[in-house]
C-alpha cells in the first residue's frame, strides 16, 4: 500500500522565543476558567494509568466534572503498575551536575533527534515537581539512612537522577495517582466507570464531544457526552501479540479516534527491551521483563560455534563470544536498549542463539558472583533471580540466565500539539497514547515521568484554554446515533460471522508477522511482504473469526475480537510508516540504512520530521503530513557507543 503526501503541519502551538521560558509563557497565556464555571464543564478521561489517573484526579480537584473510564475492574490496575525501574527527575539531589537542561539534552539525544524541543524541555522542567507531588502523596520512594531520597543512575545515564521504589516504582506511583483519584471520586468530582471500554469517539460540529462505551459486564452500549475528551489509553505494543504489555492493552481507543480524524504520528517507532525472559512455547501469552539493571553485572554471551548445544557451564571460556564487549568495547554490556536488542537478534539469526528455538542469549552472573560474592549479588538482584527461577525453573546462581528482546513501549501515538491537543478540537491525548516526547527512542525511566507530567501538570494547565470557550451546547442527535450504531454494527458483525478461528489465533498470527517483518529490523522487502499479507489476514479475520456468546453479557472473546480487529488495521499503518522512513533512527532500524559496522544511520536531511498520518479508509492509502523538527538548542549528532 502506498500513501499520499498532504500539507505539512503548520502550527504546533509551541511558543516561540527562548526555550527556557516557553512553558511559563504558555501557561500565562492560557485562559483560565472561572472556578464556578468548572463544574458545568464535563471532561471524559479514558484510561486510568499514570497519565489518565493523575489527569482525572487533578481535573476533578480543579472542580471540573470528570468521567473516568477504564477496562480493568479497578482504576488501580492500569498497566503503568508494572513499570519496574524508576522515574527520572532533574532534581540534582545527588549533586552530580544534573540540571533541567541536561535532562532535556539527554532526552532529545536519547530520542535520536526525532522529538520536539519545546515539549522535551517542558518535560524536563516539570519533572522536579512530579517528585515533590508524589512524596506529598506518600509514595514510598527508596531512601537513604539519613532519611533523604535515594537516586540511581539508570540505562547508562551519567548522572543519578532516577528515583525508585525497589523494583515497583510504577506500582507505587500509580497507587499514588489512584489514591488521589479515589479522593476525588469520594468528593463527587470524578465519576468512575471501571470495566467499561471506549469503542468510539463522538465528534459533533468538528469537536470531540464524547465517547461511546461498552459496559463490559452487561454489554450495554452507551454514549457519554462531554466538553472535552482526554485519551490516556497507553501504547499499542500488543500489536506484536507477545510483548511486556498487559494482556488487555490495546489500540482501540486511539485507533478509533484516528479513524474519526485524529492524526497518528510515527507509528513505526517501537521500543524493544533487550532483557526479557525468552519465549518458551506456542502457548505463551506474555513476555516478562527483567530489569535492565541486570546488565550492570551480568555478561552477555553466546557460543562461538553455531548449533553448539552443550550446557552453558560446559562451554569453555575461549568458545564463548561476549559479543557486546567485543563489538562495543567502551560501553560493553551497558549499550542502549536498541543496540543490545539488535545485537542479540543478529547472533540468534546467525544460528548462535541458545535455548528453545535458538531465540535467546546468555546473561551470565558467574563472574559477578566470583567477584562480589553470592550474597552481594543476591542483595542486588535477588528478587529478579527469584522471578526468573519461578518462570523458567532454572537457578540463575548456577546456570546463566537466558534473555531475549521483547516489545516494550511504543513511542508513536496520536499526534498532539504543544497543548496536547490532537487534530480534532477538544480531543487531548496524554501519556504513552500520544507521540510527543520520546522521539524515536525512549530513555529508561522516562515513561513514568512523561505520564505524570502530562497528567498532573501539563494537561490541567492548558485544557482550560480550550474549555474557556465552553460549555459547547447540545450535541446533535445524528452524531450520537451515528457513532452508537457504528459500534452496535461492529459488535453484531463480530458475533454473526461464526467462523472457525478464534480471535486469539489471528492475534498470534498477526503478532508473529509483525515481529518478523516490522520488529527489531525492517527491510524494504520484508515490509512489502507484510503489507501484502496484512490485508489478506484482515480479510480472513472478517470471514473466519468465531466469537461465541452474545453482546449482552460479560464476553471476553468479544472484547478480544474487537481489539484484534483494530490491531489488524494499525499494523498496516505501522508498516507503511516503517517503509516510508528509509532511515534508521532509535527504535526504527532499516537494514538498508546502516553503517559499515552495522550501526543505525540516521538521515537528518530527509527525515527530520514527525510523520503524522491521516486515515482515509481501511486499506486506503493514508495521507502523510509532515511536522518538521527544528533544533535550536541541541545540534543533532551521531549516537555512538563504540
Amino acid at each position: 500500500m502506498s500513501y499520499r503526501e498532504g500539507d505539512p503541519i503548520a502550527d504546533t502551538r509551541a511558543p516561540a522565543g527562548p526555550l527556557e521560558t516557553r512553558w511559563e509563557r504558555r501557561r500565562f497565556a492560557a485562559r483560565l476558567v472561572n472556578p464556578a464555571n468548572r463544574r458545568k464543564l464535563t471532561v471524559v478521561v479514558v484510561g486510568t494509568g499514570l497519565a489518565g489517573g493523575s489527569a482525572a484526579a487533578t481535573l476533578g480537584e480543579l472542580g471540573y466534572n470528570v468521567l473516568s473510564f477504564c477496562y480493568q475492574d479497578s482504576p488501580r490496575r492500569a498497566h503503568s503498575i508494572a513499570a519496574q525501574g524508576g522515574i527520572n527527575a532533574a532534581k540534582n539531589y545527588a549533586g552530580d551536575g544534573d540540571s533541567v537542561h541536561r535532562l532535556f539534552h539527554d532526552t532529545i539525544k536519547g530520542g535520536d533527534f526525532r522529538s520536539r524541543e519545546s515539549n522535551v524541555h517542558r518535560l524536563a522542567e516539570v519533572s522536579t515537581s512530579i517528585i515533590d507531588q508524589c512524596v506529598a502523596q506518600g509514595v514510598p520512594f527508596a531512601r537513604e539512612y539519613g532519611g533523604l531520597l535515594d537516586t540511581r543512575s539508570f540505562g547508562g545515564a551519567q548522572v543519578s537522577r532516577t528515583f525508585y521504589a525497589r523494583g515497583q516504582t510504577g506500582q507505587q506511583l500509580l497507587l499514588g495517582a489512584y489514591q488521589a483519584l479515589a479522593r476525588q471520586i469520594h468528593a463527587g468530582t470524578v465519576r468512575s466507570h471501571p470495566r467499561t471500554e471506549m469503542l468510539d469517539l463522538v465528534v459533533a460540529d468538528g469537536r470531540a464531544r464524547g465517547v461511546v462505551v461498552r459496559d463490559l459486564v452487561t454489554g450495554e452500549i452507551s454514549t457519554h457526552l462531554a466538553d472535552a475528551v482526554v485519551l490516556a489509553t497507553g501504547g499499542y505494543g500488543n500489536v506484536f501479540h507477545l510483548s511486556t504489555n498487559a494482556k488487555g492493552c490495546n489500540t482501540t481507543a486511539i485507533w478509533r479516534a484516528h479513524k474519526r480524524g485524529a492524526l497518528f504520528a510515527n507509528p513505526c517507532y517501537t521500543q524493544i527491551h533487550p532483557t526479557c525472559i525468552p519465549v518458551s512455547g506456542d502457548h505463551q501469552s506474555k513476555l516478562t521483563l527483567m530489569s535492565e539493571s541486570l546488565r550492570n553485572d551480568g555478561r552477555v554471551w553466546v557460543p562461538v560455534q553455531a548449533g553448539d548445544d552443550r550446557p552453558p557451564n560446559r562451554i569453555p571460556e575461549d568458545e564463548r563470544d561476549y559479543y557486546l564487549e567485543r563489538m562495543y568495547p567502551s560501553f560493553g554490556n551497558l549499550v542502549p536498549r536498541d543496540i543490545a536488542s539488535r545485537a542479540a537478534k543478529a547472533v540468534c539469526d546467525a544460528g548462535r542463539g541458545v535455548g528453545p528455538g535458538g531465540l535467546g542469549v546468555y546473561l551470565d552472573f558467574a563472574d559477578a558472583i566470583e567477584r562480589l560474592g553470592r550474597a552481594s549479588v543476591a542483595a542486588r538482584y535477588g528478587n529478579l533471580f527469584e522471578m526468573y527461577q519461578r518462570i523458567t525453573d532454572e537457578d540463575p546462581y548456577q546456570v546463566p540466565m537466558r534473555i531475549y528482546p521483547a516489545v516494550h513501549y511504543t513511542m508513536g501515538g496520536l499526534w498532539v500539539d504543544y497543548d496536547l491537543r490532537a487534530t480534532i478540537p477538544g480531543l487531548f491525548v496524554i501519556g504513552e497514547a500520544n507521540f510527543s516526547d520520546h522521539g524515536a527512542n525512549r530513555l529508561g525511566a522516562s515513561a513514568l515521568m512523561q505520564g505524570l507530567a502530562d497528567g498532573y501538570f501539563v494537561l490541567p494547565a492548558v485544557i482550560g484554554d480550550y474549555l474557556a470557550d465552553g460549555p459547547f451546547g447540545p450535541v446533535g442527535a445524528d452524531a450520537v446515533s451515528e457513532a452508537e450504531s457504528a459500534v452496535r454494527d461492529l459488535v453484531t458483525t463480530l458475533l454473526s460471522i461464526d467462523g472457525d478461528r478464534t480471535p486469539e489465533s489471528f492475534h498470534r498470527e498477526l503478532g508473529r508477522l509483525m515481529w518478523d517483518l516490522c520488529g527489531m529490523e525492517r527491510s524494504e522487502e520484508g515490509l512489502h511482504k507484510a503489507l501484502d499479507r496484512i490485508p489478506s489476514l484482515r480479510e480472513e479475520f472478517w470471514r473466519r473469526v468465531k466469537v461465541t456468546g452474545s453482546g449482552a453479557e460479560l464476553n471476553q472473546a468479544l472484547e478480544k475480537a474487537g481489539r484484534v480487529a483494530d490491531f489488524l488495521e494499525l499494523a498496516e499503518l505501522m508498516c507503511v510508516d516503517a517503509l516510508h522512513r528509509t532511515e534508521s533512527c532509535g527504535g526504527h532500524f532499516r537494514v538498508e540504512s546502516q553503517t559499515a559496522d552495522g550501526d543505525a544511520r540516521r538521515d537528518d536531511d530527509h527525515f527530520a520530521y514527525v510523520a503524522a498520518w491521516e486515515f482515509t479508509g481501511v486499506g486506503e492509502p493514508p495521507v502523510l503530513h509532515h511536522e518538521h523538527l527544528r533544533f535550536e538548542a541541541v545540534r543533532p549528532t551521531v549516537r555512538s557507543y563504540k
Binding site: N65, T189, R191, E220, S222, L225, P471, V475, V480
Partner: protein, 249 residues
C-alpha cells in the same frame, strides 16, 4: 455540560447524570467513647480483648487460689476471700462484686463474639466446594467452638463447685471435701480436662490476638502466650489429677 439530546429510552439511565454527583455526606462520629468503640468490628474486638483480659486475670487468681489445696487450707482461703473488705462490703461482699464484674465481662465478651460470628457468616454466604486444612493456626480456628465448650463448662462448674447442686458432696464452705468428692470419679476429671484444654487453646490465641486487637504486636508474644496458656492449663489440671491419683485426699 453533560447531557444528551435524545429522549430515547436507553438514555434515561444516563439522563440522571446531568449534574455533578453530590458530595457524599460524611458519617457523623458517634457520641461518646463506648458507642464509638462498639460501632466498629475493631472496637468489638477491643471489647473482647479487654473483657478477655479481665477474665484472664480472674483465672490467674482462681488458679493460684486452687493451688492452696497443696500448700494449705483451701477452706480457710474461701473464708479469707469472703472476709476481704468485709468492713466496707460486708461478709462475702467482695466475692459478689467480683462475680458481677465477671458476669458483665462474660456477657460483653460473648455478645461481641456472637455478633462478629454472625457477621462472618453473612460475609461468606456461599462457601468453597474444596477447602483444605486452613493455613493459619489450630488455636485460631477453634476460638468459637472452644468458647462454646468453655461456656457450657462454666455453667456446669458453677452448679458443681459453687452452688454444689451437681456435686456428690455439695456442702457450702467445705471446698476441700467437695473437690475431693468430685475428682475421685474419672469421668468428672475427663470433663474438666476437656474444658481446661479447650481453655488453654482459647487462651493461647486469645492472649496473642488480644494484644493485637488492642493495637500491640510485641515480639515473641506468640511464645509468651503459649507459655502462659500452658501454665494455666497445667495449674488447673494439677488439682483434679492430684485427687484422682490420690495425692490429695
Amino acid at each position: 455540560m453533560y447531557w444528551t439530546t435524545r429522549p430515547r429510552r436507553s438514555y434515561r439511565g444516563r439522563m440522571a447524570v446531568t449534574s455533578p454527583a453530590p458530595v457524599r455526606p460524611e458519617k457523623p462520629v458517634a457520641q461518646g467513647f463506648p458507642r464509638r468503640l462498639w460501632a466498629s468490628t475493631v472496637g468489638k474486638k477491643a471489647v473482647m480483648a479487654v473483657t478477655g483480659a479481665i477474665l484472664f486475670g480472674y483465672l490467674l487468681a482462681h488458679m493460684i487460689g486452687n493451688l492452696t489445696i497443696f500448700f494449705g487450707d483451701i477452706d480457710g482461703y474461701g473464708v479469707f476471700l469472703r472476709r476481704l473488705l468485709a468492713p466496707v462490703l460486708g461478709y462475702g461482699g467482695l466475692v459478689w462484686v467480683i462475680r458481677a464484674v465477671l458476669v458483665l465481662a462474660v456477657v460483653l465478651h460473648m455478645t461481641a463474639a456472637i455478633q462478629l460470628a454472625r457477621r462472618s457468616a453473612r460475609a461468606r454466604p456461599v462457601g468453597y466446594a474444596k477447602r483444605p486444612r486452613a493455613q493459619g493456626g489450630y488455636a485460631a480456628r477453634t476460638m468459637r467452638w472452644g468458647g462454646v465448650i468453655i461456656a457450657l463448662f462454666v455453667g456446669y462448674h458453677l452448679l458443681d463447685l459453687t452452688a454444689g447442686v451437681l456435686n456428690p458432696h455439695g456442702v457450702d464452705g467445705q471446698i476441700h471435701a467437695n473437690v475431693v468428692a468430685d475428682f475421685r470419679h474419672w469421668y468428672v476429671v475427663a470433663a474438666y480436662t476437656l474444658a481446661v484444654v479447650a481453655l488453654g487453646f482459647h487462651l493461647r490465641h486469645g492472649l496473642w490476638s488480644g494484644l493485637r486487637s488492642l493495637g500491640r504486636a510485641p515480639s515473641r508474644s506468640a511464645a509468651a502466650a503459649l507459655v502462659v496458656a500452658l501454665v494455666i492449663t497445667i495449674g488447673f489440671l494439677s488439682v483434679p489429677y492430684a485427687v484422682l491419683f490420690g495425692i490429695v485426699r
